[in-house]
Symmetry: C2
Subunit: 336 residues, 2 copies
DNA sequence: CTGTTAGCGCCTTCAC
DNA sequence: GTGAAGGCGCTAACAG
C-alpha cells in the first residue's frame, strides 16, 4: 500500500507537503496540489487511519455496546433495528462502528475504560445494559462521549434517547380500564432493566388513578422471555380466574401469555384481553392480532448516532430525545 | 490513559523491558515481571491497540461487509443471524469486527482495497454481494483474507461457506412433482445474486429429471421482495390458471405469493401449493404454515468467522464448508 | 508556500 | 536480563 512517503518520493515534495495537499489545506500551491493528487491517485493511495489516529487521537470509530447480541432476539428485532439506525446514520459520516457484545459477567473481565482506551473509541452507543451493570457507572464518568438507549441518565459527556414509555404504558392500562377490566395482571420483564421498572410504575399509577387497588399477586415476571412468561402466566391464570386482562412489558412475553391461555382453554379476547409492548413483526401475524405499543428502534439508533457525533465533535444540541410510542389497537383486547 | 512509558518511569525499567514483561516474553526475570505487572495493574494500563497495529501490521479487527443492512430485512433476519454467529465466535478471540454496510453504488466511491487498507483489516467476512459487484472481484485478488457467505468462489486467500441449496431446492421441486404437480411456477430472487442462479438451476434440473418440459413463462422474478413477488404472482396466476404449485427462492417472496393467491380467491394448499426458502420466523406463524427449506445462517456466520481466523493466522484447514439445509413440510403444500 | 523536526505508543532488532 | 535506537504512517508546530 502506498504511503505518504511514496508519494513524496515520486513527486519530490516533502511528506508534510503531501499530507497537507491531500488533506485540503490551503497553504499549498495549486500546481503542487494537483501534481500530488494525481500521483496519489496513480499509486492508489489511501490514508492509513490507524496511523492517523495515533497522532490525532481520533480513531473515527465508535463502539456499539450491546448486551447479549443473541439469535433468540430475532423475535423482537429491537437490537437489529437500532443497529440499522446506527449504521445508516454513520454511513454518511467518516465514522465506522465496532460491535461489542457484552454481558454482566464479561464486564468483570474488561472494564469500560479499557474497551474505550484500547481502540481509542471516539464515542459509544450503549444498548440493553442492566441498571447495575458496571459499564453503566463507568460510562457516566468516562471522558469518551456516550449515548444511552432507553436509560435516561444524563452526564457530562452522556446523552440518551428514549421514548414516552411511561405515558404509553399508562395509556394501555387505562384503555383496559375503560374497557371495563379491573383485575389487570402485569407481566414484567427483567427487574434489572430500566424499562421494566418504568413500565411497572406506569401500570401501578394507571391503576391508582383509575381507582383500582394494587394487588401484588397480579404482578408476575417473565424476564422478557416467552417461555418464562408462559409459565408465569400459566401459574397465575390457574389460580386467579378473576383476571380478565394482561398487560405485558413485551410482545414476546405476550406471546407466552397467549400460549398459556390457549393451554388453559381461555379465549382471547373473549375471556382475557392481552396487550403487549414493542409491536414486533409477529404481533400482527398471530391470531388474534396483538394489541400493543409500538416503539421506534430504528429511529432510536439513528438519533443516538446523530447525538453521539454532536457530542464527539463538541457541538451542543439536544442531550435527551424522547420518541413517541403509540398504542396500536388490534384484536387481542375487548370489553369485559 | 497509562502508557508503557508511564510504567517504565514508575518502575525504573526501560520501555522495552516493560513491553516484554507485559507480553509474556521469557527473557525477563521473575522479579521485574511481577513488579511491572503490578504497577501496570495499579495504573490501569491497557495496551493501545492502535499503536500496536501500526508496528505489528495487525489491527485485530475484521470487517463484516454486508449489502444493504436494512430494516426491511427484519422479516428474514438472515443478516442478523449471521452477524450473531460472527459476533459469538469472535467473542472468544482477540478480534473485534466493524460493520461495513455497502451497496453496488457505494462500491464505486471506495474500493475494496481502500476499505481494507484504511483500517488495516486483518480479514473480511462478505455477505450479500451481487455476483458482478466490484468488491467481489477485488476481494479475490486481495492480500487480506476473506470468507464469502453463500458465494462459492475459492481464492488464494479466500474461503467460503455455503449450504447444499442446490440439492435442497431440487428436493423441494421434486417433492411437488411427487405430489402430482406438473405446472410448477418458480419465483426467482434478484438475478444478480448467486443464490438466485443456483436455485433456478435446481428448479430446472428437477423438472427435467422428472420429465417436465420447461416453460419459461412460469419463471417470474420477485427480486427477493414481498411486494414485487405479490405483483409478479398476481400477474402469472391471473393468466395461467393451470399453475398448481409455486416454488419461491425466499420465504418473504412466498408471503407475497400467498397474498396474491388470497386476493384472487385461490386457496392454499387446495388450489395452489407453495414452498418457500429460508424458514423465516414468520413461516410457521402464518396460516397456512409455510412449507419451506431451512438454512442455518447463525452457523454460517460462526463458521465463516472461524475459517477467517484460520486464514489470518496462516493455519491450514477447511476452505469450503457446506452446511445442510432441510425441507420442512408444513401446511402450504398438498396433492394436486 | 514548503521543509524540518518531533512525536503519537508500541514493538523489534541489536548491542551490552 | 536489560536498554538504546529505530521505525510503523501520519500530523502538528515551527521555521524559513
Amino acid at each position: 500500500m502506498a504511503t505518504l512517503k511514496d508519494i513524496a518520493r515520486e513527486t519530490g515534495f516533502s511528506v508534510t507537503t503531501v499530507s497537507r495537499a491531500l488533506n485540503g489545506y490551503f497553504d499549498v500551491s495549486e500546481g503542487t496540489r494537483t501534481k500530488i493528487e494525481q500521483t496519489a491517485k496513480r499509486l492508489g493511495y489511501s490514508p492509513n487511519i490507524i496511523a492517523r489516529s495515533l497522532v490525532t487521537k481520533q480513531s473515527k470509530t465508535i463502539g456499539f455496546i450491546v448486551t447479549d447480541l443473541k439469535r433468540e432476539s430475532i423475535k423482537d428485532n429491537f437490537m437489529y433495528e437500532t443497529l440499522c439506525g446506527v449504521s445508516d446514520t454513520l454511513a454518511s459520516t467518516t465514522y465506522e462502528f465496532v460491535v461489542l457484545s457484552t454481558s454482566t459477567a464479561k464486564q468483570k473481565n474488561k472494564t469500560y475504560r479499557q474497551i474505550c482506551a484500547e481502540r481509542q473509541l471516539d464515542g459509544v452507543v450503549i444498548q440493553g445494559l442492566k441498571i447495575e451493570d458496571p459499564y453503566l457507572i463507568e460510562a457516566m464518568d468516562s471522558d469518551t462521549p456516550c449515548v444511552l438507549i432507553d436509560i435516561p441518565i444524563e452526564g457530562e459527556k452522556a446523552a440518551y434517547v428514549t421514548s414516552n414509555q411511561f405515558e404509553s404504558a399508562k395509556q394501555a392500562v387505562k384503555y383496559l380500564r375503560r374497557m371495563g377490566h379491573e383485575k389487570i395482571a402485569y407481566m414484567n420483564g427483567s427487574e434489572h432493566a430500566h424499562v421494566s421498572q418504568i413500565r411497572k410504575k406506569a401500570y401501578e399509577e394507571a391503576l391508582r388513578e383509575t381507582g383500582v387497588e394494587l394487588d401484588p399477586a397480579l404482578v408476575v415476571n417473565g424476564d422478557f422471555e416467552e417461555e418464562m412468561a408462559r409459565r408465569a402466566a400459566l401459574h397465575l391464570l390457574l389460580n386467579r380466574s378473576d383476571v380478565s386482562a394482561f398487560f405485558c412489558a413485551s410482545d414476546v412475553m405476550a406471546l407466552g401469555v397467549m400460549q398459556a391461555a390457549k393451554e388453559l382453554g381461555i379465549q382471547i379476547p373473549k375471556d382475557l384481553s392481552v396487550i403487549g409492548f414493542d409491536n414486533i413483526l409477529l404481533s400482527r401475524y398471530i391470531t388474534p392480532k396483538l394489541t400493543t405499543i409500538s416503539q421506534q428502534p430504528y429511529e432510536m439508533g439513528s438519533a443516538a448516532a446523530e447525538m453521539l457525533i454532536q457530542l464527539i465533535e463538541g457541538h451542543d444540541g439536544e442531550r435527551q430525545i424522547e420518541l413517541k410510542n403509540e398504542l396500536i389497537l388490534r384484536e387481542s383486547t375487548s370489553n369485559r
